[in-house]
Every structure is written in C-alpha cells, then in structure tokens.
Symmetry: C2
Subunit: 376 residues, 2 copies
C-alpha cells in the first residue's frame, strides 16, 4: 500500500481513515469485507490497515477481511463511551486515539464525523488516492473481472436466444403466447444473473426510437425490424467486481440506415481496440473514433456520437481511466476499460457496441467473447 | 416542509443542501427521484426545494421528481466553469450562488464538497432533521409500505410452500430431485421478488444451529425437524419503501425446547403489539417482552433475547424509532415499526417472529397478515 502511505506522509498525518460500508468501492478495495453497516478503516503510517468491527462481526471479519481486524471493544470504544458525552464523540475519540495523531480522509468522508474528530485533531481531505490505486488491477482483480464478463456473455446469449425464438405478430415480438416486453426480458436477465450469483440493476433493453437515447432503459413491447439495444452491467456478489457489455440486435429486417450505422460503429470499435496501448491517452482514442465517424459522414452536433468512448470498470461500474475528450492522461497496463462507440439519431434510432478488456504492454486484450451480428 | 425550514433558521443559514444519489433515504424522501448519480438538492429558506440535474435528465426529473427541478446550465454551472479553476470549484460556486448565503447540510454530506463550498460561505452540520421527518409517515408512504408488506407476505408463502412440498431424505430436505439448500431458496425468493418489482438482499434462510446467530444468512442443505428461520426485507423498486418480515418453521417434528421457545416468542410478540400506542416508549415495550421471557424462565445474558425488539421501517430498512432499551422517546402515531422478539440458544437454535405495522391513535395496526405456525 505504498501510495496510501505517501498520501499520509504528504499530508503530514499519522493515519488514513475511511468510514463507509462495502458499497463504497474504496472501502471494499482496502478490506475485501462485505458489510451493509458503515465501519471505520484506519491505516497508520507504515502499518497494515485495520477494520474496527462490532463484536458480533469479529469472527466473520477475521475470516473474510484482507486487512487487520479488531473489535470496537479492543479499540476502547466502550471505555470512551463512559468518558465522552455521546456515542458519536466516543467514536471520534476512538479513531483519534487509535490513529495517534492527525488524519487524512477521502473526499466522501461524512462531514458530521469529520467535525466530531476535529475536536481532537486535524483532518485533511485527500485527492482520490485510493481511486487512483484502484485503476490499476492486480492479477486477482483481473481474474474476478474476467469471470464477471464470462457470466455477462452468457446472460447476453440468454437474452439473444429469447429474442431469436420470439415470433413476429404484426410489428410486435411475441414469446410464450404474450407480447415480449422490455420489462420481461430485463427481469428474466436479472433472475438469470441472481441465480448465478450476480446483481444487476437498470439493464437497458430499449427498442426503436428509444434506442436514440443512450440511457433510456426501455419499456413496452419489443418490435420486429427495429434496433433492440441491450446494455447489461452485473456485479459479482462474491467479489464485488463488475462487467459491462452492450449489443444491438434486429429481429427481422433492419432499415438500410441502421445497417450502415451498425457497420460504422463496429468498425469504430475495432479501430479503437487496435489503437489502445500503454502511453496513448483516452482522448486520442476517443477522437480517432470520432474522426472515423465524421469521415463516414456521421457528423456529431447534438446527435451522433454523443457520449464517451469508454470508462474504467472495477468495484465501480464507472471509474478511472476515462476514454473521452477529457481523458488526457496516458493509459497504463493493468487498466480495465470499456470500448463502447455508439451513434444515435432521433428519427432512426441508435446502435451501441460495448466490449470490455484489459490493457497490457502489448495492447488491448478483450474479455468480451461475443460475436457482433446485427440480424438475429 | 416546516421542520427543514426550522433547521435552516436555527442555523442562521439561507438554505439546506444535500448531495447524494437516491440511495440516500433523505434524498429520496425529499425528491422522490431515482438517480444513481449524486445530485445537489437545495431548499432555500421558505421556498420549495429544487434538484439540480444534468440536461439529459431534465425531462425525466420534471416528470418524476416531487420537488422543483432545474438543469445545471440554468444553475449557471457552465458559466462558473469558465471562471473557476476546476469543475469541483465551479460546482461549489453554483451551490453557493443559488443558495445565496450560508448553508446547513446533513452529517453525511461529503467532507470534500463541504471544504470546496467553505471557500464561499459557512457550512453548518445538521442534527438529523430529515431523518426525524421521515419517521412519521404520510398516507402516501403508508400505502407504499403496506403494499410492500403484502408482496412480502406472498414471497413468504412462496418459500413456505417450497419447504412444505420438500421431501425428507434422512435428515435432509429434498426438492425437485436435489437437496433443498438455503442458497437455492434465497435465490428463488429473490427472483420471485424481482419479477414483482422488488429488490431483496441478504435474505436470511438459516437452519438448525445457524438460527442461534440472528444475522447468519444461512448456507447448506435445509434439515427436517430443525428450525428454519426466514427473514426477508424487500424494497419496492418503484417507491423505494421497504417491508420486513420473519417467520420460523419446522418441517417435521420440532424438539420440545423449540416448540416451547416458539410459543414464548409468539406470546411476547402478541404482548408487545397490544402494548404499542402513542406515548409509550420503545424501551417500555422492549422491557415488557424481556420481562415476559424472564418470567417464562428465559433469562438473557449472552444468550436468549439478544437484540432489539424492533425498529422503524421506511426508505431505510432500519430507521427511527427504536424499540430497544435505548428507545426512550415516546412512540407517535404515523411511526411504522417492526415487532420482532426472538430467543437464541447455541445448543438448541433460535426462533424469531417479525411483524410490521403502523402506530395509530388507537394502537398498533399490523400489516403482516400471515399466520404464525411452527410446524409445516
């Protein structure tokens, strides 16, 4: 944990402190411990970090946490509770006494707790040290993310298969005797994922004109001969890591415009994946795809390629680095990123294709093993 | 929103500000808007609160939010972005300029953003005003919670039915040709809930000795003649409100100890539900149940009745008021609480029964319409 130590030293502090549940990706990263209640994590200068847990969580935490663990009792919480005016004050005193001096905390640290602790010592705000550490993945993390992407490929196949087996009744798709809706497909995908140990929310299953809005999650009956856009980003309940994937399908006959957009987006994705390597910036890759679209006649003003090319993925679905006009720092080996070009037109609809993979010294290694084919 | 205004005035501030996603119950309560990205909510003294959203969320927010809505552009974010050194500084300036003076914020407010804003004005920490407002439910909220409890009754019936139809093979329960596991039942319950528009996590399906640990979610094959404890607390995706329910079953023949514990817990629950009314404290009700257990010979030291009798439920699964030794404030009409006595013994196992309902001027009105019967 070199860089956390550097942050402590730079702030002339004695310890780095986080107060969060494992929903906070920094907390989960440093402790690998799943908890719905917020806990204190304290890393003293030059020491291993420790998690302070209630007595009833001690045994589980000792088994599951990747850092040190002590109980609140051992951190003298109950002793301070006798001396101090409130449990909040006692918790603040406990943190200060354990740390043994001034603190540095992340930007997300709760202001109320910071004020309590400031009765005892100085509290400096960090500039995203843990977030930056998280961007470079370890082999263990890469395994977890690759595994999550494998399940994501499978759930996409599950969804594609339902669309493939739907029948066409007029303009509508029907499945098992009823209209096949966005909502039904989303929920069946979520159930499939749950059964395999994954959580998913807000999976996009949009169709027709809806696909022109990149974040519209979709509603109503799916239609034949129209683009159906599926964007799914499940989290592995066991490891906490995400995968992220998008495909666009047409059941039946796409319009010539959609077919041409599809081919252009697919070629843009290939172009980007071939460019990605350590040292190039996210902005350079994004802009190369934008140039490709412009050359193909897809000029972007308020329509066209209206979002970023990609983002980092890990314990958060969106994290560093950014493949966007603002992504001006060089990409590095160990970054996991999405490559998700898209083109969106209100009168035609939208197409997005999203792969995810790791950057190695030799370039981009794609984890998304799933064919790109529009018509099913 | 009288009390939020009072908090603003007491702090001699001009506005109350929250920065959070709708995972934050205060944010969801004040805006009724679902967002995974954190947003600023600003309520100026004597005015309606407003939510500041990105342009691409404006239309949806205007439709769905219960408060006022303006775009970041209308809040002059992009103008400040030209003048200020960073997007963070521009956001802080935007909040300050919109509020027009000093601010009061909740304890959970991110320290980093508070420090940015303090370059422009004073930021005072609130003492849980919104949390206290949330404890008294409106008729709309009661409808949402009652509906969530109805679905929860149904998913409990779904689970009970699977156990009922399981066969006994030696000591194990089998279902559809394989051992019936805790994990299987939990996931099938989660799928059932998903299909009905509910999210559930960490549903407890524990069995045998596991049931002696109130928070053990359970693992492995369910057993005949042993207590099976099911505690499920789903959240309605549409409204954000939770329900909470526990039942304990035995498939086959319970031990005499478990049968006696069951009857004692059930009578304790009835006693508590009959006592609950406006004016009585949570501690009084908790202690009455503890006394009942003691009179029945179940003395609590490190075993027995080792948790609180109940808690408030709403946009958070645990919120005010507390039915526990620390719950010394009077219960009020409009509180929604659980009543969940339990007795736990390492050598025997545990039993918990949890109902949820609303406190009215006439007493406790139970929303949990589900029989209490041990043997199935």
């Amino acid at each position: 944990m070199e860089t956390l130590n550097e942050a402590i030293e730079k702030a002339e502090a004695e310890a780095y402190v986080i107060y969060a549940s494992s929903q906070d990706p920094d907390m989960r990263y440093l402790t690998q411990f799943v908890t719905s209640d917020p806990l204190f994590y304290i890393q003293k200068r030059g020491k291993e970090g420790i998690l302070i847990v209630p007595q009833m969580e001690l045994e589980r935490a000792q088994k599951e946490a990747s850092c040190g663990v002590i109980s609140r009792g051992d951190a003298q919480f109950f002793k301070f509770l006798e001396d101090e005016v409130s449990p909040r004050r006692a918790a603040a005193r406990m943190v200060f006494e354990y740390a043994g001096g001034d603190l540095i905390v992340p930007r997300s640290f709760p202001l109320g707790i910071a004020e309590d602790i400031r009765l005892f010592c100085r509290v400096t705000v960090d500039t995203d040290t843990v977030e930056e550490m998280r961007a470079i993945k370890s082999p263990r993390e890469l395994d977890a993310i690759r595994t999550a992407q494998e399940r994501t490929n499978e759930v996409m196949a599950f969804a594609e298969n339902i669309i493939r087996h739907a029948s066409v009744q007029g303009e509508e798709l029907w499945y098992q005797g009823t209209p096949l809706t966005s909502d039904y497909l989303r929920r069946e995908m979520h159930c499939w994922l749950l059964r395999h140990g994954y959580m998913a929310r807000d999976t996009i299953v949009s169709c027709g004109k809806e696909t022109a809005q990149p974040h519209n999650i979709g509603s109503g009956t799916l239609l034949a001969n129209e683009p159906i856009l599926i964007d799914v980003f499940p989290q592995d309940e066991r490891t906490g890591y995400y995968a992220d994937m998008t495909r666009t399908f047409v059941k039946g006959e796409p319009s010539p415009e959609i077919q041409e957009i599809y081919d252009t987006v697919r070629d843009g994705q290939t172009l980007a994946e071939e460019m990605i390597r350590p040292g190039i910036s996210g902005a350079e890759v994004h802009n190369a795809v934008l140039d490709h679209f412009t050359e193909c006649g897809y000029v972007t003003e308020d329509e066209g390629f209206i979002h970023s090319l990609g983002h980092g993925v890990g314990l958060q679905i969106h994290e560093n680095p950014s493949l966007s006009p603002r992504g001006d720092t060089p990409l590095e080996a160990g970054h996991v990123v999405t490559v998700e070009p898209g083109l969106y037109y209100r009168k035609i609809g939208g197409v997005r294709l999203e792969n995810m993979g790791v950057i190695t010294k030799d370039g981009f290694v794609c984890y998304t093993k799933y064919k790109r084919r529009l018509i099913i």
